[in-house]
Amino acid sequence: MPDFAEPPGLRFAVIDQVRVLEFEDEAVVFNPLSWDAHLLNPAAIAVLELLLEAPRSEDEIAAFLTEALQPDEQSQASAYAQRLINELQTLGLVRLGESTASANR
């Protein structure tokens, strides 16, 4: 886990009472607001778990992904982080701001 400096700017957090069911390299996530279940790929679930630990900025998420990506993909980490955050926000699983999120797994 990278040693994150105090991040400036906005942070993203997981909404409260998300439920996560992990199966091998995929996961099903329950959205407590819509009652929808979503299938997430390994990258999305890794970011969700990172945000469950504590709210993070986009730069922090990109730094986290940089460590997980292959060297030739690391230059894409920032764009990848942005896309994942957008997708998680679209699903209603992530929002801007502090969180008191807890998850059932």
Binding site: L21, E24, P32, A37, A103, N104
Partner: protein, 320 residues
């Protein structure tokens, strides 16, 4: 007393007065009708059931009756009232049993919110269940019927009843609805099978019902553990082909396939998650019924039973 032991006259007398209580396992219904033909049909298809006190508690009361007014004479119809309300469209008067069976299914699906209800055929052997969710026309009922005629016990042809909290499967034991070619397929497959009258003019084509065996009816209050989730698809060009399905994909297909997943929210998510977690999940493409039964039996034998002591530990835990 089993329904088989009651005369048709006595059955009709019961049906046309207080009604006949029937215990399906996970749900109970009270049936009332004064249509004479229905009594004989019920005696055939529910022969293995015991009679219940019609004054007891029931999940739904269904009244099957002839439509009054002009439709009582011109192209006469019958209608089904669920708890006094006509919730579905009338059927022609000569198809009272399909109306009663489909109507009762509808009533159960729209009332029973204490369980997660999957649209699935379910059978078990040794207390370990095979859940077979499928869309209409996939061969689900044919396969379910054939399995119950080859040593598997029926839980349901229509409802996978999942108990919230521990994901055990309950029984909703009702006659199996066979359609079109599958009626003859099952009659040839097991000539001693009790199949009721054929109704050729329903919106699903010709329909007939297979009576559940009395020993299966007697077990209607036993629960079963999930072992296999199998998505069947009949394909006459196929032999027997089994392909694994990942658990998340199985979860998604089961959720879409459920009657009430969205009404139950987190409870349904947890129950379905546990069911999938404890099951081995497969796609079955079959054209050979005997081969499919053999393959599913072997698959069930090969699948390791869940360790009962580990059930609680494997259930999703709160982590933060």
């Amino acid at each position: 007393m089993r329904i088989a032991d009651i005369s048709v006259e006595s059955l009709l007398q019961r049906l046309s007065s207080d009604g006949l209580g029937i215990d399906f396992g996970a749900a109970r219904a009270r049936v009332r009708t004064a249509l004479p033909a229905v009594a004989g049909m019920i005696q055939t298809l529910y022969s293995g059931y015991t009679t219940e006190d019609a004054e007891g508690m029931f999940d739904v009361t269904v009244d099957l009756r002839r439509v009054r007014g002009v439709r009582g004479f011109i192209r006469p119809q019958c209608e089904l009232l669920c708890d006094g309300v006509p919730e579905i469209e009338p059927f022609p008067l000569d198809t009272p049993l399909p109306l009663r069976e489909w109507g009762t299914n509808y009533a159960i699906a729209t009332r029973l919110f204490c369980y997660l209800l999957l649209h699935a055929g379910v059978v078990e052997r040794g207390g370990r269940a095979i859940v077979m969710p499928a869309m209409p026309g996939s061969g689900k009922s044919t396969l379910t019927a054939a399995l119950t005629l080859r040593g598997f016990r029926l839980l349901s042809d229509e409802f996978g009843v999942v108990r919230l909290g521990d994901a055990r499967l309950l029984r909703m034991l009702r006659p199996l609805a066979l359609k079109n070619e599958s009626i003859d397929v099952i009659q040839r497959f097991e000539p001693t099978a009790i199949i009721g009258p054929r109704f050729p003019k329903t919106h699903k084509g010709t329909v007939a019902h297979l009576a559940p065996q009395a020993s299966h009816v007697d077990a209607r209050h036993e629960v079963a553990n999930p072992a296999l989730v199998v998505f069947p698809r009949f394909d006459p060009s196929a032999g027997v082909e089994l392909e694994p399905v990942t658990k998340p994909r199985a979860f998604a297909r089961l959720a879409v396939n459920s009657f009430n997943y969205h009404a139950l929210g987190p409870d349904a998510f947890d129950a379905l998650g546990q069911l999938v977690h404890e099951s081995s999940c497969w796609q079955l493409r079959y054209g050979d019924l005997d081969g499919a039964i053999k393959a599913l039996g072997e698959l069930l034998d090969e699948t390791r039973p869940i360790d009962e002591s580990a059930r609680a530990a494997q259930y999703p835990q709160e982590v933060a």
